[in-house]
Symmetry: D2
């Protein structure tokens, strides 16, 4: 039975796309409009102003691009760097790996710093590279704030501290796809030069808008950066910003109204409350994983992610099978393990438009095996073993 | 904080109105239409044909009335009975009580059979009344299939058996508001003369459509019934049925499309599967209540309801407080105790568009007290006592 | 080809149900909620307060009933009158006729004053009846503000003047179904005792809410009125009003949010602007009818309706055919002629959520015959004759 | 008054984004889903198969890219060409101009063939360039099927004929943004190598999906093309096509369901009927323009566009003022004149989800001046002059 047509609602716990609030769905339930009418630029102006708040920047310039997070990466890199430029980049999981791949395809000279998947970016290596680089050959440090594949959060304040310590002028480029609007992100305080996210993550919108924010230093760099860019060129946006019409090409009217509604919800709850809620739900998830006797993929407390938890399954189990069964039996969508951790972890997304009860149902089903449902098997060869849960009220 | 504006979705577990499937919401998301165009009568024809299936009748005549369950009661009574008519009616909870009140206000001579709330209709009393009534003064037996206030399901087959046993010609009128589309309802097999339900119950639509189905015997009775009725008069519908335009007054276009989508979902899942699912979720609910150490309001297994469970709380607790806290803290909507059981029970609706995970979250929160949340207190005076849950995987 | 599935939108110009504004559709695009939660009564309170403004009353008590206009009639009559009561009632078209029929079925002694269809209520007859009735046997004067079948607006101020002139205590009951929110309606100023409308008319909502407003005198009358009423009994509402929970039975959550949005739109535009817009669009319609060389069914200027225009077609044409072709060829919904004027008139609804361009397209197609489309035929026997339109810019 | 909040609906007649059908809006009114579940790839497979039909290709490979038409251009160019490559490209209006600009920024050696705006691509020049190019230095011929800025449709069959005549191997790249799904487009028959469109044009979806289709020859070219591309690289898609998961990055779930609904509508109407409807509505528009005494920007019948008409206004009038007034007074959205024809033309989009009455209202208002509305002024200095319209039925 295809559960998507099954009774009841789908339980969406992949780390993006995430659940869209009903009020946002309502705001987006509308016909197209002429984006050159007086109404759309007026709304765009408020969006550009307000979207800065989710980056905690006042000096940054935001771009709302009809693309995905992958396109936002492209925008961040091509507008600030030139072929041959040296970048320091960290591979700690599938998404940081893909970003490095982009950098290499763009012809940058990428100095890759790898960590075991489950660990954060190795900042000691960064320190020594910065220390050595008195000639300032390093043009940019590129890092994910939160690695979605492993549930690892990097310490961006520490990166900034190192750059400052060595007085290094490298650009500081951050992928905030699975962090911004869920984890505390401080663009100005941390001196981030380009930060980016995608609409379908903690903003809780449909996919389709890449949001990129550039510091004055990044904008300056874009004037001389030689990477070829057309669709992603900031210059085209800046030209239309000046004219007050804002759009070099057609935006999605529905996503603009949706962004308005999503920002309103975030500000109404209060960004700090949003972060606290993410921490609360993440803590509950981690306690549940512990209670199930399973391991968190994240190897040290310092990197624990409040937006996604990658759960390591016993070696005799294929984590993809857990994901498959959750979907078939419970209309539950969990994240697969990707690349190096394929089959080894499944991922619980706990970001965006979530509350306690939405999360609890999911935690319950994974450890709980009632009736004739078996989630985990002892080994591929042995007979299925039923995991039971006793409720003890004390 | 008003949880309705809080992050995440509302968890709706009152025994009606229930969760509307997304596909039904989509079907209803439309402009008005002319109900006299060729399109609406054509659709209405399929609705009238298909709606019979949820009553399990082939000989019945259905009426789709722009009203609520209360209006459907009115329709059932006024079309078949006359002031002064003797009815046998059972009071076993708040909703059967209100129906008796209607009957009395309509000037019927109501022979009320009361049971303790938590028990089903007393069929022994019915048997003796039928036995005595050789003169056939009893014009109708009126009974709820499922009492929504206490979670009690009456045995309708047994009622029919008694009527047949005593060869009694009384009309058999049934309130199926919280049963039809969730519990197995067999209009033809049980010889029910009028059955009724409301759109917002197990059909999982918004409120606004009362669905009444009349047997040939009930239609015959309507020709001589002297109760005054205008809006609810079946005659007006039958006139338009004959003309093929179907509507004596304006229907809700949106509810018609919604009903089409709701019936399609039910038939796609299969009515017997729908009933099995309700039984599965109800069983889980009852097990959870037991695990919490609480009592089901339903006093005997024979009356257990697969659509609603009324949970008795300890005497030192106000059940309304549990409902209030669920709403405030968890965006969880539970049913209050009504009338005689106000403050004594809270109700968990498990009917309509539900699946396992939607239900589990709710059961969890009621017995589980993590962090600093306390749902049940030992006594009003004592310090709060934390109920803990240990998960044991064996 | 069934035009409802045809490209482009349906053009809805029946005099109800009318076009629902997109913002109202958005507001209604939502799941069910518990109507006993704190949120719904809080919203209901604002609705009951604000809905008085559309009646222009401060002393009236409104009832939001899950029913249609027909049910609202029932509510108005049964709560204020008793079987045998004498009413004066005017038949000037199909809807006033149906209301009289209700009154007769309720056992009132209806003194029917008929006018030729196309003319307004005969107030001279009313005057003489009031003059004669020194014994005050007339308990109520029942009148439609606007007869939807013929496009005739009655002069309610004149009715009140007569009642005052003869110092007559009769209740003044008004059907405002196709007037309220479109025509200036002044409940308090005109001393109307019960006024009513339906959600799918000028409020521009889906069908399903009958809105009835009772003066203090009407409420007083309801205490002694002997007509049997159950579902429509105001008493049940008043009991729940006092308790602050407002609902004796389940309301449509979606219609409540829709009403909130609809009222907000009306107040934002300003009621007087709404009336002026209706007058402007009605005037344009009447000019177009004149330009087509056709006759308005309304026989005198004093009765011209700003919400619906009934257009008389030449005798050799069946107006139903015009409606049928409009629907088939243009996805255009016009109103049929009803009863006495069936085949003789078609109706253009110009009420509710409309603007200039929405109306103009409709007017154009009726008189304009481009390409191979023929709307009007010379005679039933002759060959079709093409009506051409020349545009002359001068 | 801001008409967007004004009563009634917005009348959208820009040449994109166009009106979204209600059934498509309904299909898109949904929560996010996991795009890695079994459901989304299964649907994607049908989309990729069916989308070929709108290009009339069986051998092409389609790409559904989360971008706009501008991004689709980028995709077409960077995947098939290398810096320094010679292209022949035609500038006949603002959009072909922008595409040429892209080509120049990508470092191609663009051989620009300009026409007066209002005229089509100069194929005589193409012929002579092809004739001269015996060395096959021309790598691609780039042309818009329909220039949206001027309402000019180019003859693609003639381009193919020339390429064949000269036996020239150049790639044939076509911008079909304002043609595909509205004008007859024959990718295979015309030997087009890359064709592209955007979701918000004749497909009548929201903005956000660029649809690009590559011939086997184009796919072959992509293997050696040296233009740098990351986000737009076909290679990434092809890799996931082979895996059967289809998506190298997150698609918009809502747009996928919307595309399914939009294609279903097109196939239900029949593509040839869709083209005929566009021709019918375009013809009506052109007749109206003629009747107003105004000139079509398109200078010869051979280039008349069935999707957009650019109307030349008298020299003393600013066309932007007409657009502005249409919006303010009538909630009517018309297209502005762009670049060279700014202030000189306004544009009527008549593509996508339109029917006769939707169009007529728009035509009416532009020439018709009733009441106190004046659309066109004699001159900037003179007093406003009222343009009257007489309806003559003959």
């Amino acid at each position: 039975m295809d559960y998507v047509n099954a009774p009841g609602r789908n339980h969406l716990f992949v780390p993006g796309p995430v659940n869209v609030p009903e009020s946002v769905l309502r705001a987006m339930n509308r016909n197209n409009e002429d984006y050159r009418s007086p109404a759309i630029p007026a709304m765009t102006k408020t969006l550009l102003e307000d979207v800065k708040k989710i980056f905690k920047t006042t000096s940054g310039t935001p771009f709302l691009i009809p693309t995905t997070g992958t396109g936002a990466w492209d925008s961040a890199l091509t507008n600030t760097l030139s072929p041959g430029d040296r970048t320091i980049s960290f591979v700690i999981g599938q998404f940081s790996l893909l970003w490095v791949d982009q950098q290499q395809r763009l012809g940058f000279n990428v100095d890759v710093v790898e960590s075991e998947w489950g660990r954060g970016a190795d900042l000691d290596v960064l320190a020594s590279k910065l220390a050595e680089d008195t000639a300032h050959t390093i043009k940019a440090v590129c890092i994910v704030h939160n690695e979605t594949a492993t549930g690892v959060t990097n310490n961006l304040a520490a990166v900034r501290k190192l750059l400052d310590h060595y007085n290094h002028p490298a650009l500081f480029l951050v992928d905030g796809v699975s962090s911004i609007c869920a984890l505390d992100f401080r663009m100005d305080e941390w001196g981030v030069d380009v930060a980016l996210t995608g609409s379908q993550k903690a903003l809780s919108l449909p996919t389709g808008m890449g949001i990129v924010c550039a510091s004055p230093k990044a904008l300056e760099a874009s004037k001389t950066a030689k990477s070829v860019r057309i669709f992603f060129d900031w210059k085209d946006y800046l030209k239309f910003y000046k004219m007050g019409t804002y759009w070099p090409y057609t935006p999605s009217i529905q996503l603009l109204y949706g962004l308005r509604a999503a920002l309103d919800l975030l500000f109404e709850e209060g960004l700090e409350n949003v972060f606290a809620r993410h921490n609360r739900l993440a803590t509950a998830t981690r306690l549940a994983v512990e209670a199930w006797g399973l391991k968190n993929c994240t190897q040290s407390e310092e990197w624990l992610s409040d937006t996604v938890t990658a759960v390591v399954v016993p070696p005799y189990i294929d984590s993809a099978e857990i994901v498959r069964r959750g979907w078939q039996r419970y209309n539950l969508s969990l994240g697969l393990g990707l690349n190096k951790v394929a089959g080894k972890v499944f991922r619980i997304g706990h970001l965006g438009n979530l509350n306690e009860l939405m999360l609890k149902d999911k935690l319950k089903v994974l450890g709980y095996s009632d009736c004739n449902q078996i989630i985990l098997r002892e080994s591929r060869e042995s007979l299925p073993r039923v995991y039971c849960v006793k409720l003890e009220i004390s």
